[in-house]
Amino acid sequence: MARVRKRSTHLSKLCSFSCCRRAGATDEHARIGQKGYSRVVYCNEADSQEQIRLKYRGNYVSTTKYTAANFIPKSLFEQFRRVANVYFLVVACVSFSPLAPYSGPSILAPLVIVIGATIAKEGIEDWHRRSQDIEANNRKVEVFDGNGSFKETKWKDIRVGHLVKVCKDEYFPADLLLLSSEYEDGVCYVETMNLDGETNLKLKHALEVTSSIRGVETIKDFRAVIKCEDPNEHLYSFVGTLYYECKQYALSPQQILLRGSKLKNTNYIYGVVIFTGHDTKVMQNAVGPPSKRTRIERTMDKIFYILFSALVLVSFVGSVVFGIETKKDNGGNYGRWYLRPDSTTVFFDSRRPLVAAFLHFLTALMLYGYLIPISLYVSIEICKVLQSIFINQDQAMYDEETERPAQARTSNLNEELGQVYTILSDKTGTLTCNSMEFVKCSIAGTAYGRGMTEVEVALARKRGEIIDEALATDTAEPGGSVKGFNFRDERIMNGNWVNEPHSDVIQKFFRVLATCHTAVPEVTESGQIVYEAESTDEVAFAIAAREVGFQFFSRNQTGIQLHELDPSTGERVDRLYKLLHVLEFSSARRRMSVIVRNPENQLLLLSKGADSVMFERLSEHGRMFEVQTKEHIERYSEAGLRTLVVAYRELDDDDGYKLWEEEYVKAKTSVGADRDDLLDKLTDMIERDFILLGATAVEDKLQKGVPSCIDKLARAGIRIWVLTGDKKGTAINIGYACSLLRHGMRQIVITLELPEIEALEKQGDKDAIATASLESVEKQIRDGKSQVDEESSIEFGLIIDGKSLYFALDENLVKLFMNLAMSCATVICCRSSPKQKAVVTRLVKSVTNKTTLAVGDGSNDVGMIQEADIGVGISGVEGMQAVMSSDFSIAQFRFLEHLLLVHGHWCYRRIAKMICYFFYKNIAFGFTLFWFEAYASFSGQPAYNDWYMSCYNVFFTSLPVIALGVFDQDVSATLCLEHPSLYQEGVQNILFSWIRILGWMFNGVLSSITIFFLTTNSITVQAFRNDGQVADYSVLGLTMYTCVVLTVNCQMALSVNYFTWIQHLFIWGSIALWFIFLLVYGSIPPTLSTTAYKVFIEACAPSIRFWLTALLVVIATLLPLFSYKAFQIRFRPMEHDTIQATRL
């Protein structure tokens, strides 16, 4: 009944079927006209002076982040919120001063490219939002023009005060006050899926005084003033007063139709626009999901700090040496006279070496800025977007039934998918389909319904019983073609029930099922009747009743009509049950009843509810089948079925009832804190002395592939917690069914359903209960912990119920509890509320300090999804709210396996490798500059031509890294799934551990040393060509740079595990690009190309020494890492190495 409980708040609206609305003005209504309640709407007078003077916003909606005017400044501002970008901007600005070691444009160019790319990406995203806005703004709706006709008007032109007509299946263009509808009583049905994710229909009700305003003439003359609250984000509240014909009428949310919801089951309605555009409740609600950052990104920030410190340190060392060297020039004979220390600038002033050293420090910060990879952020972003596209495109995660692919709603969490330590899952709708199927029932002590549920099959397997294949397979394919109905029993079906011994009980039983609910029938085009209800259980009941022969086909304010089989005549007759009262469901009551008057004029109380509350309410003579029914219920819930007890009571149509009814109506319409208590007391008075009819069993079907998926995830070492609203028994059984609880696992159950606690509850002393409960929970946790500590070889499953959880999350206990929970392989929290789900998620996140993933489908999972590191929404039957707040959405739970084990693993690996490699390549490059400085007396002269350097990150080394970040796979998808343990590489963060990061950095330094010293010693001092020419500054720079480009690209080739033509193209293409660049850049006039002019073509290319040196340097630089890898793979293989080897 979890579903029903969740919806209880909305069920209350159904009371309007029978009882009056609140009439009196509440406290809030008194505040109208004051601050916060100042809105005034002149109905049907949108063009009047008074309305225009108020200057309310129009209905134009814009959800874009930028406008055409502010795009450039705002997006630039966004970009420079990143520290690294600010650093680069400062560098670029300073680079136009004489401080700069190289020319300004060459520094600015990469920054412009990098930031331009990011801004372009922002722009494209915003453009998509904009086109959606345009679509919404240009939808049309009929607006009354004041002269007696309705005109089609675009949404964006609607203003406050307009009177609009909305037709069936149209969205409401703004927040409207419902005036009247097709129906005389002014009701209409709306679907609020876009608001709260609930697919069921809600009833809205116009004020009586306005419900007759329907004809054009009456509309024309309709004038009224609404004073109401200011725009706010509360979807379920509204305070306002309607001034109409000199009278005041209080308005409630009942009369408000919200933008974003849809008109259903009603041909048309008339409404007055109250809130428009951004003032509407849905727009006021629109807040982006909380932005989440991944672990890797956080580590990356630390690496940036390390690099910044390295940069400062290196610059400082350089400046000190530079200062000393410069000071030496200050002698009588001017030391290095060729530098003219006598006529110098402040930057090289040997008389003020401290100042010179300080200025040099700034220069050095710029020079060694290459240690910090400018394009890292943008490269990572590009990679992640492409990775998301791959996730979206993956056919393995495409659900053919619903035609829904997986969707990465945010691209920045991809690699986090590879590090999930705990999965917190909702049960209903996530593990199970949430399509309830009526499978069994127990009527008059006889169990009906054959076939086995999946849980039963699993249970039987667990017990080692032999399963009747015929029965087992029977359930595999849903019975017949009727959705929601999998009941087979020839004793009941096809009207056979009349021959059963207790046929009268059976008749009553199905009558209760057909009438005691809040479902609304809807006739489809094919003539079939489908039901819409707040809970899927009720739909299943209505369908079951229909299939057996009690077809519920019409409902209105006062009654319910059934087609029934008359057992005496065998004919189908229509019967009208007058619906007098609905005693709604609530989680406290755990039962629901209706009071009806049947065609025989009998007054009946029909009821269904949880076994725990129903059995104690049976009358003395109503307990005939109690024992058998209890037994059956036991068996059903063991089989993972949801059970309800069905009972009825005949009411005496006397003064006693009348008195009760009076009291009840009064309580219903009363306003005050004690209203609910009063209602509870009254319903309690009448809901007793039931006569037991039987019990129903509804199966919440497991989703396809759930058990095997959970098994895989468990084998990948991921802990799975199930947080469900179900009761303990059901939860445990579902646990077995989806192999969360496995054979040989020991269960630790923490519960407060203990005799001593219950005894206390009867006494009602709240403090005593709390203390006792806390003690009891603590004791149970300690017991559990000691069990776990004693036997380390057995796996444990922890089951805790919501009430105990409340105490276990107490400050003093939480540590102990989490400690126990962490040592259990499976944790099931049953009977937990949405809030508890979110709290548990937060706790798991903070206690384990590892990645948590929450998966759910309903609006009750939103808290959990937003709280977790990664939120996954199942885009199932329960609307889109979970999906809207999630980071990834999938159509079925089983796709989680593919999402985590394949995409998660790949993305983690890719990003981790990419970042390490990025730092490597920049350190390898940046440090060659430093070594060169050491030989240029730290004067700040870069070793390379300015444009070589600025192209380094953008052209010669970026594409292969991106290819690595997007395409690399260590093992194929199939192998990922075959070897789930591979996933542990991500969970244990092996590929992005500090050792590995520092290792790569060290390798970068080592590479730079190798490159610098091998190159300098090989090509200088002697002639480096056979024609006697020596290598000068430009030749050395070019050679060294060539070595760097070759090395980092070949290093990349060594790290890639997966070579498609793309990798080949990018890696070898980057190298080729460098040589092409040399040719092109070297052939433009020397005033532009400066030191690069013809160096390659004239000096280097003809020199064998140049090529030989390049070859030697590349091999020598790659050798350390290659050898390390070779030995490591052979003697200390990691998981993926081993799997790669098995592939051979």
Binding site: G331, N333, R336, W337, Y338, S343, T345, Q393, D394, Q395, A396, A714, R715, M745, Y935, A936, S937, S939, Q941, A973, S981, Q984, N1017, S1018, T1020, Q1022, A1023, F1024, R1025, N1026, G1028, V1030, D1032, Y1033, V1035, L1036, Y1058, F1059, T1060, P1086, Y1093, E1098, S1103, I1104, T1109, L1112, I1115, A1116, K1125, F1127, R1130, F1131, P1133, M1134, E1135, T1138, I1139, Q1140, T1142, L1144
Partner: protein, 336 residues
């Protein structure tokens, strides 16, 4: 044709499908022991011979180096070399003897080598104007030439510190009383002569200031023919560098003694620099440098050693390749 087109279309479609499903045909290199050993052996077998050949080339080069900066200062001035070099009245000529210890085949390259001379200093490197070198006085914006930009309000051509500090020691070579012919043409890069230094640009107002740096230039010769300047202006990469002075077109026999008459004009004394004169032949790999050969041999032999070590370890620790049971987390039972 239509069929073929459709066929092509389909293959393109499947290729795109494979791309989106990340299952493009790919080469997935795995470092198996076989490959590792092969690669190590291969590198060893490549680099050791290459290194040996390189060493041989290096050894075939005959190189004579003579440091003359100290020797060419008269005994009396050895204590204060700076005043010697700065005093124009003292004659700077000096004679050195160089013994050829091995037959040297023409062309023999003459270099001068400077040590501890920071031609790569930022202030120095920047102090030039490529545009002025090409266009002469027509080009006015020579601010980059600071501090040798103007003299007496007149622009200096060529401007800048590099040109101003032009090396001006000169050498003549005598063998058995006959002067050796030294070819001082074509010592600069062709591209420099053709495109970087103007054919119609003549030195102007050069070395006219109070502080004379290095050599002077003949104002009648255009810059594109001032090869010493062009060579000098290709700044060196490191503080020790050689620059080409000329070529001797005659072979030198072993035990020949060459008398070098030089003008020791250039001041390296104030910053403790050294000056050397180098005569060297050239091989296909350029001048004498054992480093490259040694490095190749070292890399090659370490590859060989790694190959051997790897093979031995591989044979010693035999275990089926691809056994997952060695992994740390495989030992824990995760599957239950």
């Amino acid at each position: 044709m239509a069929d073929m087109n459709r066929e092509r279309h389909r293959t393109r479609e499947t290729a795109f499908y494979l791309f989106t499903q990340q299952s493009l045909p790919a080469c997935k290199p795995v470092l198996t022991p076989g490959w590792v050993i092969t690669i190590f052996l291969f590198m060893g077998l490549i680099f050791i011979p290459v290194g040996l050949i390189t060493l041989r080339a290096s050894h075939s080069v005959v190189e004579i180096v003579d440091r003359y900066d100290t020797e060419c200062v008269p005994e009396a001035f050895r204590i204060d070399k700076i005043s010697y070099i700065q005093d124009d009245s003292i004659p700077k000529n000096c004679s050195r003897f160089m013994k050829v210890h091995k037959y040297m085949k023409a062309p023999i390259y003459i270099y001068y080598q400077l040590d501890n001379y920071y031609q790569n200093h930022r202030r120095y490197v920047k102090s030039r104007s490529d545009k002025q070198l090409l266009h002469g006085q027509k080009y006015h914006d020579t601010s980059s030439c600071q501090p040798v930009e103007l003299n007496n309000g007149q622009p200096i051509v060529p401007c800048g510190l590099i040109a101003w500090s032009l090396f001006n020691d000169s050498f003549t070579f005598i063998r058995e009383r006959a002067e050796l012919k030294v070819n001082r043409k074509n010592i600069a890069w062709k591209s420099d002569r053709d495109h970087k230094f103007g054919k119609n640009v003549h030195p102007f107002n050069f070395q006219n200031g109070t502080l004379i740096g290095g050599g002077k230039l003949n104002p009648k010769v255009p810059l594109s023919d001032q090869e010493d300047l062009i060579v000098w202006m290709r700044t060196s990469a490191l503080p020790s560098f050689r620059k080409l002075y000329g070529r001797i077109k005659e072979d030198l026999d072993a035990d020949d003694v060459i008398v070098v008459n030089l003008m020791n004009n250039y001041n390296t004394y104030s910053f403790g620099g050294k000056k050397k004169l180098v005569l060297s032949t050239s091989s296909w790999l350029g001048g004498k440098n054992d480093f490259l050969g040694h490095a190749c041999v070292i890399i090659g032999s370490s590859s060989l050693i790694l190959a051997i070590v790897f093979t031995l370890l591989h044979l010693k620790y035999r275990r089926p390749y691809g056994d997952t049971s060695y992994l740390p987390w495989s030992r824990k039972s995760l599957s239950g």
